[in-house]
């Protein structure tokens, strides 16, 4: 036996495979430097105006922030990827602090989390920023900007700017490009422009791309009567829209395309996860334990919201005779614990710590509904290409939902998991072309027993 073999006593589990040394890199190109300078200028403008300097609060001030930030970042991403060969760009992900829970990652996590805490509980700290977007709010919705408008604006900018990054990163992959264009479109149009314009015309602020149970209030009796009684008839349509989307479109679209039609093509939470969250997707926990926690948590949230909705309706039908204040406080708890803490503070704030889909995976009741449909009554599946898998683990590593894709691929089994959002990244990163997202001809041939959806569901419940 050779000397270097037998004397090898590294503990590969804990030591020895951190970042290898790197020869000096090519310096940043002039274009990238200019882009970063432009971005820096935009941020400086923001800070100065937020501190009360002119021209804060005017259109000029707003554009002095938006344009440099948007074009600085977008052109940086463009130039950064432009001269590389199209393909998977995951070099160094595990060596960078930002993407591997280093100091930078934690720092960004703290900043994100702090932002959400301010947003929900101390909006006065955001007053400087809110003032900057005021001109836009006035002309879009006719009313002055508040913290929620500011948030929606930032959110939309983030999806669009990081959407450019996704476009460049995946310029060899049309599935990724089209999907990214779709989330950008729905965030910008359906979740930002339309709700604000509705307000301009004195209509209720309504998000056409969110439905019960993700936006549970759309089927709460209070919202219901408010919308129905709203003058102009549009309210009536919105109620109708919400109900149809929940009860007809959701099962139908999920049957044909899987949960992805919503989670990685339409939804705003998904939109942010797929754009700004992309650098963090590998941080999701792939363990079986995490999967167990996920199933219990996400379904509990669903049960909670169903119960709340039912109670609210019973209450309203009986004018509060049965449950009194109880259902109202359920609703408030939900808003606080789930709406604020979970979806915001943890969901986005913890991107650099727990990955980009914490909320979608552990908390979102819409994902739970879509997941049950996808698991038992859908044509969607990820197929594996014969026995080509060599168990490398790229697919599992980059699955933002923490699915151990490899566990299925190396056995040649289809991947049919309730949580899969159909982002397609596992298929993109697989170096052996093993995985393919497909809408098959029927739901029956996906896994043994998939021809009896109800039986399969009951079996799963028994094993839970």
């Amino acid at each position: 036996m050779e000397e270097h073999t037998i004397s090898y006593d590294f503990d590969e589990e804990t030591l020895g495979f951190e970042e290898p040394e790197k020869a000096p890199a090519k310096p940043l190109g002039t274009g990238e430097k200019i882009s970063l300078a432009v971005l820096g200028f935009g941020i400086l403008m923001f800070v100065l105006q937020a501190m009360g300097m002119p021209p804060g609060g005017t259109w000029a001030g707003f554009l002095l922030v938006l344009l440099p930030v948007f074009f600085g970042t977008a052109s940086y991403f463009y130039l950064d990827f432009k001269d590389t060969v199209p393909g998977i760009k995951h070099d160094n992900i595990y060596f960078r602090g930002l993407t591997n829970k280093g100091i930078l990652g934690w720092l960004v996590g703290v900043v994100f989390t702090g932002f959400y805490i301010a947003l929900y509980w101390f909006p006065e700290y955001l007053a400087g920023g809110i003032k900057i977007v005021n001109p836009l709010s006035l002309s879009l919705s006719g009313s002055p900007a508040n913290n929620w408008f500011f948030y929606g604006f930032l959110y939309t900018v983030a999806v669009c700017v990081f959407g450019v990054r996704m476009f460049m990163k995946y310029r060899h992959n049309r599935y990724q490009q089209i999907r990214t264009a779709s989330v950008m479109f729905f965030q910008f149009g359906f979740a930002f422009l339309i709700p604000n314009i509705l307000m301009l015309f004195n209509q209720p602020e309504f998000y056409l791309s969110y439905f019960w149970p993700l936006k549970p209030e759309y089927l709460f009796p209070g919202t219901f009567s408010y919308f129905v009684n709203h003058p102009g008839g549009l309210g009536m349509f919105l109620v109708f829209w919400g109900a149809v989307m929940t009860f007809v479109a959701t099962p139908l679209l999920t049957y044909y395309f899987g949960k992805r039609w919503y989670c990685s093509w339409v939804c705003g939470c998904g939109g942010l996860a797929e754009t700004m969250g992309d650098p963090f997707r590998q941080l999701s926990d792939k363990s079986k334990k995490a999967w167990r926690v996920e199933r219990w948590m996400v379904h509990s949230v669903l049960v909670f919201i169903v119960v709340t909705t039912v109670l609210l309706w019973v209450n309203s039908a009986t004018s509060g005779a049965v449950f009194g204040e109880a259902s109202m406080s359920l609703k408030k708890w939900y808003g606080f614990y789930i709406g604020a803490i979970f979806s915001g503070v943890i969901g986005v704030g913890f991107y650099p710590i727990m990955g980009s889909r914490v909320w979608c995976r552990f908390g979102c009741p819409m994902a739970a509904v879509l997941g049950i449909l996808q698991r038992y009554l859908s044509r969607f599946r990820i197929t594996t290409n014969g026995d080509q898998c060599m168990s490398c683990g790229n697919c599992s590593t980059y699955c933002e939902m923490g699915i151990d894709v490899r566990a299925y691929a190396q056995k040649g089994e289809n991947i049919i998991r309730a949580s899969c959002v159909g982002c397609g990244v596992c298929a993109a990163v697989c170096p052996r072309g093993v995985l393919k997202l497909e809408n098959g001809g029927t739901f029956k041939d996906r896994f043994p027993g998939s021809d009896r959806p109800l039986g399969a569901l009951i079996d799963s419940l028994k094993h839970a």
Partner: protein, 424 residues
């Protein structure tokens, strides 16, 4: 009953799992000096490039082994006492066994080049090699890689990702052209050059030159050219790792000699995977298979045999896949590097040189398919070859084999047009 397995690679693991399936009560001990747990060898490069952590390359959770009652031993076997039914271990107590599987894998080839033992010269096969590369890369600026195979190009990609200037010496007139037809091979040449790698074709290593402290300083090629470098990657293929078996008196040739049920010449001693050489009676060379899936399949059959089942290995229709930087490659059936008497080659290449397909027929039946930059379905291609489908049939059904992600540009119409033209 106690089974010992030397090697925790894909072969050893497949065998252990298949023994467990058939024999719930047997004791299974799996031994490896390389790592405590099974990891995916083809993923070595991704650890180095920062795509994955070491942990991510382990195909099973650590608790899996205990759950399946497979005992893991970390250590090196130094001798097999086949008669006394025990393994002598390096600095550890011997391990007794009733049945033994040798699945020791391969080792990198070294062809006795002058200077091949200098510091900074290495192959890439194991975690030890990877670790060595972490040391060798310290202060390095340039590297020379010798040998144009699959591991060579992976090593080139790895070093390139750390901004090391790579010179790639390939003996043949084009990359991997002892396996690939010239057109496919040239597509890869382009990919290599496009990355900024200095590809030297028809160039062989003559000598590795060291400095006073025993470290490599550069290489001299067969063209008498001196190339300065601090790392030399020797990736001229691998051969079965038979040292242990040979020293222990078990019959070996190029690999450990076994029959089609993986029995060696010693009772209760089996060998499978990269290290095994299957004796082919009658005509033809003995079979040595050194890829992932063959290890998995051989291990599975070996495990069945050891567990007392009647089982014989059937190699099935050959396939393989690889990725050259960003260019994916799949092959099904037999595609030779040069057309053989009686074979016809049909070839289409996209004008952007990023995609191609080759269909080989023999006596009117399709016998091999290569695709580059396209993903094709293993099941479909395999069935065409197995059923000896005609070129016409394959072209008529070509779309069924497409396994590209949704919304990818479909090239089938063009492929069919071009190949029909060639066939006419």
């Amino acid at each position: 009953m106690r089974v010992a397995i030397i090697g925790n690679g894909v072969t050893g693991v497949a065998a252990a799992l298949s023994i467990r399936r058939h024999q719930p009560d047997w004791e299974i001990v799996m031994i490896s000096g390389e790592s405590s747990f099974h990891y995916s060898r083809p993923a070595l490069m991704y650890i180095f490039m920062g795509h994955m952590s070491y942990k991510d390359t382990k195909p099973y959770e650590d608790s899996f082994w205990q759950k399946n009652r497979i005992d893991l031993v970390r250590g090196w076997v130094t001798e097999i006492d086949a008669a006394g039914k025990k393994l002598i271990m390096h600095e550890k107590d011997p391990v007794a066994f009733d049945k033994l599987l040798i699945a020791t894998g391969s080792k990198s080839n070294k062809f006795g080049w002058p200077g091949q033992d200098l510091g900074g010269v290495q192959g890439l096969y194991s975690l030890m090699d990877l670790r060595l590369l972490y040391e060798n890369i310290k202060g390095a600026r340039s590297a020379v890689i010798v040998g144009g195979g699959l591991i060579g190009i992976e090593l080139a990609e790895m070093l390139h990702s750390r901004n090391i200037h790579v010179t790639f010496l390939v003996r043949e007139k084009s990359y991997w052209t002892n396996v690939l037809p010239i057109e496919e091979s040239q597509m890869i040449n382009r990919v290599i050059l496009e990355q900024g790698i200095d590809l030297r074709l028809l160039t062989e290593l003559k000598e590795i030159v060291g400095n006073d402290s025993g470290k490599v300083r550069g290489v001299i090629t067969n063209k008498e050219e001196f190339i300065e470098c601090e790392i030399v990657g020797l990736t001229a293929g691998v051969s079965p790792n038979i040292a242990l078996a040979k020293a222990s008196g078990i019959g070996t040739g190029r690999g450990i000699l076994v029959d089609w049920s993986f029995r060696t010449d010693r009772p209760d001693v089996f060998a499978a995977g990269d290290c095994a050489e299957i004796i082919t009676e009658g005509e033809g060379r003995n079979l040595i298979q050194q890829v992932w899936y063959t290890g998995k399949n051989q291990g599975k059959v070996a495990g069945e045999v050891m567990a007392g089942q009647e089982s014989v290995y059937e190699p099935g229709i050959w396939y393989n896949s690889a990725k050259f930087f960003d260019l994916e490659y799949q092959t099904y059936g037999m595609v030779g590097s040069v057309p053989v008497e009686g074979e016809s080659n049909f070839y289409w290449e996209h004008p952007d040189h990023g995609r191609s397909i080759r269909i080989v027929t023999k006596d009117g039946a399709v016998c091999g398919i290569n695709v580059m930059g396209l993903r094709y379905s293993h099941r479909v291609c395999e069935s065409w070859v197995a059923e000896g489908r005609s070129l016409d049939y394959v072209l008529d059904h070509l779309g069924d084999a497409n396994f590209d992600p949704e919304f990818y540009e479909k090239c089938e119409a063009e492929i069919i047009r071009e190949i029909r033209k060639q066939a006419a």
